[in-house]
């Protein structure tokens, strides 16, 4: 059986800046893969290439064994629906209530009826602990609450894979736990996840595999216990030392 998501030799350049230099990575169905690495190493670019917010310059991206790199138009929209994404900056729709943030794409993209969409959204918002905020506008929520709405919004499309790009990096420390708890629960329910994170405890406890990226390549990969306690590469060791003993 082919893995849910597979990335092969992915290349990306911004002008003369070579950001991804041949990244390979496999996410089996139901697995959680974490990507760690210093800022500027290309982690966000990697995720953005996977759902085609950026066009890769080489290599391939396979979803259920099918290449999605050349898709355009409606076929691309359809694939994006199958891949959920949560951003560091939340990117909630400020002109819509919390409930409507989760309802909108269901109605627009899936043509779900209003009642059914509201029921699904209410259920998802309950799962992320926001039952009381349905009619608030995002601007009145804390960062942690906004990020949980963003997760519910992505889940409303019933994605097969979820991409998380440093979703707790813009949060005050005391709000991080609530968001990570939601992600842990999602992992427990069997969601396939590709997670870029600076939360080493999350990467260690939840991931099936950890990748360390630097300079646009995967420097090291392995099961979390090994990578965190006995990294094979000098660069990994230095990065972990800097992060874990600030």
């Amino acid at each position: 059986m082919s893995p849910k998501l597979r990335i092969e030799g992915l290349q990306k350049r911004y002008g003369r800046l070579h950001v991804l230099r041949g990244v390979d990575l496999t996410v089996p169905a139901g697995a959680v893969i974490s990507v760690i690495g210093p800022s500027g190493s290309g982690k966000s670019t990697l995720l953005r290439c996977v759902n085609r917010l950026e066009e890769a310059d080489g290599g391939d991206i396979l979803l259920d064994g099918q290449s999605i790199r050349e898709l355009r138009g409606p076929a691309l929209d359809l694939v994006r629906r199958r891949i959920g994404m949560v951003f560091q900056q939340f990117n909630l729709f400020p002109h819509r209530t919390v409930l409507d943030n989760v309802v909108l794409a269901q109605q627009v993209v899936n043509r779900t009826g209003r009642d059914e969409a509201v029921a699904a959204a209410t259920d998802l918002l309950r799962q992320v602990g926001l039952t009381e905020k349905l009619d608030e506008y995002p601007g009145r929520l804390s960062g942690g609450q906004q990020q949980r709405v963003a997760i519910a919004r992505a889940l409303a499309m019933r994605p097969e894979v979820m991409l998380f790009d440093e979703v707790t990096s813009a949060l005050d420390p005391e709000l991080v736990t609530d968001v990570l708890d939601v992600m842990r629960e999602l992992a427990r329910q069997g969601m396939t996840m590709l997670v870029v994170t600076h939360e080493m405890s999350f990467a260690r406890d939840v991931s099936d595999e950890v990748l360390f990226m630097d300079g646009g390549v995967v420097v090291e990969r392995g099961d979390p216990a090994t990578v965190f306690t006995a990294p094979a590469q000098e660069r990994t060791a230095r990065f972990l030392d800097r992060i874990l003993n600030p």
């Binding site: 990117n91 729709f93 400020p94 601007g139 906004q146 499309m157």
Partner: protein, 245 residues
């Protein structure tokens, strides 16, 4: 002093010619509303083409930029004269373009409306463009990542946010457009300024023009106040798109 006062504020003249001035003002209002609505549609279309990223639209994008530059850079009066003095004589054009007489308005009315639309469309395109660019890029990306097409994302997410932020500048331009309708009198539309001028020619008294000015102020002053207030209100609130509240 009395002579001075009577020259501008002769209530008798105002009263006698009130129907004529008011009829002119009604033309002004109709012209403003029609040209205002048309230039909003036209300006938004120009802004959407100009802001698009599709490769297929690249030539249209270049044309749009040129159009906006040209019509912001030449006088409205010139456009009025070119349109009214040329359209009727271009023989292969259909009759409703050469001599439009729609909804009971004479052809000069529509030439004037067309000239205002052509010119103000260029101004409003820039207003809309600024509004569209003020919507953070992450809004489009979040929408696309949920599976919305580009046009769905524009329609449901980007445009509603852009339109809100452009209401005050749009109204500002509407006030300017309304005042500029007085230019189309040169092609024979008896709007409020022309009506006042005709009275002035008959009576050697300017009170009908004063009356016209007052009628303008009845509309433009509240609008300007509203613009000032909503701009003041928008400033401190501003960017509340994400980031810890």
């Amino acid at each position: 002093m009395d002579v001075f006062f009577r020259q501008y504020f002769d209530l008798g003249v105002m009263w006698t010619h009130f129907p004529k001035v008011l009829a002119g003002f009604w033309i002004t209002v109709e012209l403003s509303l029609i040209a205002g609505a048309l230039s909003m549609v036209w300006g938004l279309a120009l802004a959407l083409v100009r802001g698009s990223r599709a490769r297929a639209l690249a030539p249209a994008r270049v044309l749009t930029v040129a159009y906006i530059d040209v019509f912001r850079g030449i006088p409205l009066l010139l456009v009025v004269l070119v349109i009214s003095g040329s359209l009727p004589f271009i023989e292969f054009l259909p009759r409703w373009v050469r001599a439009p007489e729609l909804f009971g308005q004479p052809d000069v009315f529509w030439f004037g409306a067309a000239a205002l639309t052509v010119t103000y469309g260029a101004y409003l395109a820039e207003v809309f463009r600024a509004g569209l660019e003020a919507v953070p890029r992450g809004q489009l990306e979040a929408s696309r990542s949920l599976g919305m097409s580009h046009s769905e994302a524009m329609r449901h997410v980007v445009l509603p946010q852009a339109v809100r932020s452009v209401v005050p500048p749009l109204l500002n331009d509407f006030i300017a457009l309304m005042k500029d309708t007085s230019l189309v009198q040169v092609i024979g539309i008896v709007e409020v300024v022309r009506a006042g001028r005709e009275v002035q020619g008959e009576t050697f008294n300017s009170s009908a023009l004063t009356l016209g000015a007052l009628l303008f102020l009845v509309v433009t002053l509240p609008l300007a106040r509203f613009v000032d207030r909503s701009m003041a209100r928008n400033r401190p609130a501003g960017a509340s798109t994400g980031g810890p509240a």
